[in-house]
Symmetry: C2
Subunit: 165 residues, 2 copies
């Protein structure tokens, strides 16, 4: 199965992956959320080859996540803005960044400095259940269809490395 066939899969995760399941694509989105709009800004923030940046931007535009808006003719210039669909990815990036800060500690790490503009604070994204309102703890989610739930290594001796916070 080639990955461009993923977009016609019934599973929502597979279709999401067909849009943003690529290393550079996620980083392009990060730059977008941090305020980048122009080709050169994306190139500078990413350190990826220009051709790669161009192809990822084009893909995100095609997927309706970014909007390419010409802002000058003649030297034809465009910038790239998040659409509603793109902005809706913010929870994904936030939870991903939070996971990384929590579980991938690193000498030169620097937190992402996310601030909630309503209350003005730095925050952690808390994920809760839309039905009961309780915060969802790892292991409290069950995936239907198949009967079994995720099997985990909780009672394993000496799990290598899996022990940060």
């Amino acid at each position: 199965m080639r990955w461009n066939e993923l977009e016609s899969e019934p599973c929502p995760v597979a279709r999401a992956v067909s849009v943003i399941g690529d290393r550079w694509t996620v980083l392009v989105l990060r730059e977008s959320f941090k305020g980048a709009t122009r080709f050169e800004e994306f190139c500078a923030g990413l350190g990826a080859p220009r051709a790669t940046v161009a192809s990822r931007l084009a893909g995100l535009v095609e997927a309706g996540v970014l909007l390419r808006r010409p802002y000058a003719d003649h030297p034809p210039r465009s910038d790239y803005l998040l659409t509603d669909r793109g902005r809706a990815l913010q929870p994904v990036i936030m939870t991903l960044a939070h996971w990384s800060e929590t579980w991938l500690a690193h000498p030169t790490a620097q937190a992402f400095d996310r601030r909630h503009t309503i209350c003005g604070h730095r925050f952690k994204p808390v994920v809760s259940c839309s039905k009961c309102g309780e915060e969802i703890q790892p292991g409290e989610v069950e995936y239907g269809t198949r009967q079994k739930t995720a099997k985990t290594a909780s009672l394993m001796p000496g799990s290598p490395d899996g022990d940060h916070p």
Copy 2:
């Protein structure tokens, strides 16, 4: 920049991407959360070439997201269990699936059937601020360092496709 250099970047998103920023890796995790533990289960659920599955499983084990546990010698057999670090990725997969269900409607789509085992209901993952407790709306997050916030296409005329729910 080659992507294996990403793991030593200061940005948490970049380091997260170095671990799970790959199409098949995310789908391997999906299978894990759905209960897969054995090599053949991953192969069957993914439709990816066996070599790719093997390499992604090895990568996730190396990253401490999965634990490879031998369960038989002689025909040497192992299975793959989520570690704490792996289970902590659940919010990422949930918000990703939710984004896809909301914004990538598709004829053959079928919802992921996530159920909160505490209250027993199907739910949507709601992301809120750990400081004020309010649900975070798109556009209410500001990324420090750079002054500007994400620029978006909210007041653009005729945004192509970016208008689903």
